[in-house]
Every structure is written in C-alpha cells, then in structure tokens.
Symmetry: C2
Subunit: 251 residues, 2 copies
Amino acid sequence: MNAALSESQQDYLKIVLDLINEKKVARIKEIARRKGVSMPSVTEAMRKLSKTGFVQYSTHEFVELTGKGETAAHRLFSKNMFLKNFLVDVLDIDEQVAEKEACELEHHLRATTLDRLILLYQFLSARQQTDRPSLTLFRKCLRIAEGLSEEDPACGFRFWENRYPHRQSESTVHTLLSKLEQGQRGQIVMLGPDTEIRRRIIDRGLLPGSRFVLEEKGTAGRPFRVRCDGCLIELELIATNMIEVAVEQPN
Amino acid sequence: MNAALSESQQDYLKIVLDLINEKKVARIKEIARRKGVSMPSVTEAMRKLSKTGFVQYSTHEFVELTGKGETAAHRLFSKNMFLKNFLVDVLDIDEQVAEKEACELEHHLRATTLDRLILLYQFLSARQQTDRPSLTLFRKCLRIAEGLSEEDPACGFRFWENRYPHRQSESTVHTLLSKLEQGQRGQIVMLGPDTEIRRRIIDRGLLPGSRFVLEEKGTAGRPFRVRCDGCLIELELIATNMIEVAVEQPN
DNA sequence: TTGAAAAATTAGGCTCGCCTAATTATCTTA
DNA sequence: TAAGATAATTAGGCGAGCCTAATTTTTCAA
C-alpha cells in the first residue's frame, strides 16, 4: 500500500496538516475551501488517502493524519516553506504570490535540486571577502560541500565559517542546535556542509526556515528530539552540531 | 479559439519544434517516442492542437507549426533552455536530469520569477569587488534593475558594467547584439537592466542561453531581425544595445 | 506494380480529479 | 426535543490524457 502521492493528494495532505495545527481539527468543508474545490471532491480524496494509509478517516468524522501521513505532510510543508522563503528572500517575490508558486514548483523539484538551492540560499546569505566572480565561488563551495574537491577547503573559501544571515536582527540570537536547552523554540538558519548528514536532515524535512521546539536534549548516546510542524524528529548529537538556529525568545 | 495550452500540450509543441529544427519534419511516431506515449495519443493531441490553431495537421500528413504555434513553442523553448542552463551552470545538476527537470518546472514558473532568476544568473556571473554579503548585494541590484531604487545606481554596485561570464573561453568574443554583422550567429549572454525593455525581450523568448542568427541589421528607424529557434524576432536598436552576446565563429 | 512492412488512425476503455444535484446525517437552539 | 440550519455523502457525469487491439493507409523495394 505504498502508493506515490499525486500532486493533488500532496496538496490535500499539506492542507490537512495546516488545519490541524491551526484549528486542532480538519473538517471537510475547510479543506474544500482552502483547496478551492467542492466538498464531494474532498470526501473522495480523503477516502483514497485513507485507503493508502495517509489519513485516518471515516464518514462524518474529522480527518486525522496517520504517522505516515504526518511524516509526508511535514516534509512537504518544510520543502514548501523553504521554497517560499527562497522566492521571497532571494528573488523578492511578493509573499502571497510566492506561497502559491512554491506550492506548484514544489512537486517538481528533485531532492538534489532542493539541496543545491538550499546551498545557494546559504551561500548568498554568507559574507564574502573576495574578488572572484560569485558563480565560480559558489561552484567551488558546492564542490567542497559535496566533498568532491581535493583542494584543501581551508585554502578555498569557507562560507560555512563566515555566515552573515541577512535576516538576522539585533534581537535574535544565533547558535547551534546542540547548544539549546530543552523546551526552547527556534528556527533553522543553516545546515552544515557535510553531505551525508545534511541529506539526512533535509530528508526528514528540517530545512532552513523551519520552526521547531527542542523536546528532548540528547547526549552522545541518546538522540535529540525535535518537534517541527507537529512531527517528531530524532537527530544524533553530531548532526545537531551542524545546524545553526535562531533562538526564539519566549517573551 | 485562444485556448490556454495544457502542460501536456506545451510539451507536444516543444517536441514538434525540436523535430522540425532537427529533422525538417515532425512525424507522429517520433513525437510519440520523444514524449514516451503511444501513437494514438499523439494523433489525438495533434487534432486538438490543430483545432486551437497551434499546428497545421490533417490525417497522414506531417505536423507543422502555425505562426501562432511557432511563437508559443519558441517561447517555451527559450524558457526551457534558460532553466536548464541555470540548473546546470549554477546548481551543477547533471545535464540529462536538468533537461527533464527544466521541462517540469517550466510550466509553473511565473514570468516575474523567471525574470528574477535571469537576473540572479547574471548577478552570479558578474565579477564582484566588495565585501558585502551577496544576498544584500543581489537584492540591491534587483532594485536597481527594477528602477525602484532612488539611490544613485553609480554609487551602488553596478554589476552590469562589470560582467565576467564564467563560461567565456578564450576563443569566444563577447559583444553587443547591435555590433554584429548581418548573418552572424551567436548566443545571448546577458540582458540589460532596463526593466521595460528587458521584459519585452524576455517575452519574445530571447533568454540568456538562446542561440540566434542576425538576419537583418537595423538602424535607428528600422528594427533588427533576429531568428531564434526558427522564429523571427524584431528588436529596436535601443534593445540590441542592451543585449550582450557571444559570437559564434563560423569556423 | 504489387505486396509486405511501417506508419497512422479508429474504436473502445481506463483512471484521475473534478463537478452538480439530491439526499442524509449531525448540530444547534428555541 | 424537534425542527431548521449546516455539514457531509451518494449518485451520476464530464474532460483530459493516456492505453491496447484492430484496421487502414502509405511507403518502399523486389
């Protein structure tokens, strides 16, 4: 029963997650309104999604996400969020428009491309002190990040050491995820250069822009647990040392 | 009869243009092979496209593009080409993969976003001498390019004056389109910062990466005529002064 | 010039994602 | 607690875009 989700189904899943986060429950009417379709269409879609095990649903009940559905929705959500951020922060697209466009593009972006786009985003957010053309520089960073370069990274340009997030305001504190205390909230700013680990992080849906709560601080032996868009993610200590976050003050 | 083209139809149109350019004629079987569908599907699609006036086709004949179809196909082609270049040149995606991905993304990229992406591509290809964070710099360039900045562009960073195309090899000569002689071939490298004119150029499908022949050199009063992917494009003198091209040596 | 091979078309059918109209279930409140 | 309002479902249908199998048309070569 491991059917691939169609584009439309992905949209439904994302909407359901949104609704549950916002209003605690997802009801047919609201889903229909958000997706801009009629209610019968939603009923039918939910039936299908429940048959493939992404949602739990029987007639006249609220729609809920299964574990599988939650994971999937959560991934989509993060991807979407990042894409929107890219469009808004980098390309200066209007926020409303970016939201819609991100939804559409999302379905067609391969994992590698997303990964590279994240690197580009981070690259552009970093401070540079060099007179070389940016593209050459970016390509070099790509190679270093992918571990494909035999050059000594130290002699190359290390954008990882030298970040300068443009969104950083005076009041936000940037630190590593591993440094946070239990219960603290934050937003991902950057992912480290390690390909293998970065991929794993991205696969779980933790992308620049994602907001989270540190539910359980881990140790060398025990993983960190981070809740993000209603989904629990486990991360080993080593990974949390590669994730730069902006701490949200409880205020 | 000005129906919007579905994604699938857009693909068909692009394939037809490709085939006509490559093999002089587009036959059902080839279209089917390239699109990965069966021949009856193609027949049906062609019938529809001919009803809406994009292709000229009757049973058992080769498929041809009408003027309308050619313009549309040509635009799609350029867009696709640019997108592929972006994926390959900037994000270092494998060429095969980039081609497919460009096709899929293409349909969902709004015109503004494409425009901004072109600017980003050009920005990254430009030489920079500064220690400011790139993103800030890029956003500033965006504003200048859009004419939204009251700042004196001269005191800001002028990436237009300072290009450094990474693809430039020793043998290629870069110049302005207006400087070309009749009959010369080339490839678009950059489009100038003037929003209004740039938009018009982009709308006609002349994007960075497009290859063309200068068919007729114009004057102040008479437009330049450029053929690109089998489509004739007229450009005023002022526009040709804003288009940087790589000249292809006839060898 | 004719007949086999190749190309194209017709016929009929499928799924997906949507729709409207009609009906039924649930909620709310007087 | 019953009736009117609201929400959801069933039934039936539509178009897009694809398919296979069968048939027809065109091409090409002996």
